[in-house]
Symmetry: C2
Subunit: 129 residues, 2 copies
DNA sequence: GGTTGACTTCGAGTGCCCTCGAACTGGAAG
DNA sequence: CTTCCAGTTCGAGGGCACTCGAAGTCAACC
């Protein structure tokens, strides 16, 4: 029931596996300021807490939705400044949300082109058969 | 009514503007084999036909949906081989279509995370107010 | 107590997709 | 006829996001 049993603590390798990034990337994210310096054990090895992992997970979603690392860094900086940046962080997310929606709309348009082409190929194949 | 008035013929700059790429990129695409060698005028300048532009437009959609240049080249090679590759090209598009659908589903999931965060920030801001 | 394997830092290298600078050419406008 | 602009080729350069190699350390297991 003490802190050490209650708190999860993962090595860089374990954390990497859970969030679907490589250990290289995790260290690089830290170096780039996307992640606040991670705690270390007595041997100097990184120990990732649950909240570290949650943060990393969020980063993977931002990344996957096309947010540049530069903007993720800006977001991380805001987060480090505490509650007074809540508004700015929300604004950042709202702006990003719009971009994602736009991207989705774009993909839907592009999908139509793909469908059109697939159909055209189908018809052309039939023509030839 | 002769061919020269009926056929449109654009310079690299004009073609670039129409498809939303730069002249650099258009030349590079040609060099990379994404576009078959474009016709030239008497001075050696590229002249893009309507079908060149259509092809380029299609490439922009493939690109925008995340197809790597490598795959676009493969597709271009198939297209250059004529009707006998219709099936292969359709297969290529169908596979790509699946990837795009998967990508869209992913984005929808990610959007939920964004929405959740936006809401969390909103609630936290209210808490503080 | 030696071997193994995962960790550490640092800087260099990679892959993708353009993007550009330099030097030149040729057609069109004044 | 000069000026200008948009084109030409070639190879080099750049931005982004990792990815890796080297050299070393340390805890854990047999």
């Amino acid at each position: 029931m003490d802190i050490s049993t209650r708190e999860m603590s993962l090595t860089v390798g374990e954390a990497a596996e859970r969030v679907g990034l490589t250990t290289y990337t995790l260290r690089w994210y830290e170096q780039e300021g996307l992640v606040a310096p991670v705690g270390r054990d007595s041997a100097g090895r990184r120990r990732y807490t649950e909240s570290d992992v949650n943060w990393l997970f969020l980063l993977t979603r931002l990344r996957r939705t096309g947010m540049p690392v530069r903007d993720m860094r800006r977001y991380a900086e805001l987060a480090r400044q505490g509650d007074r940046t809540l508004g700015a962080r929300r604004a950042l997310f709202e702006a990003h949300r719009s971009r994602v929606l736009a991207r989705m709309a774009e993909l839907e348009e592009d999908l139509k082109v793909l469908d059109y082409k697939i159909d055209a190929y189908r018809r052309a194949e039939e023509e030839l058969a």
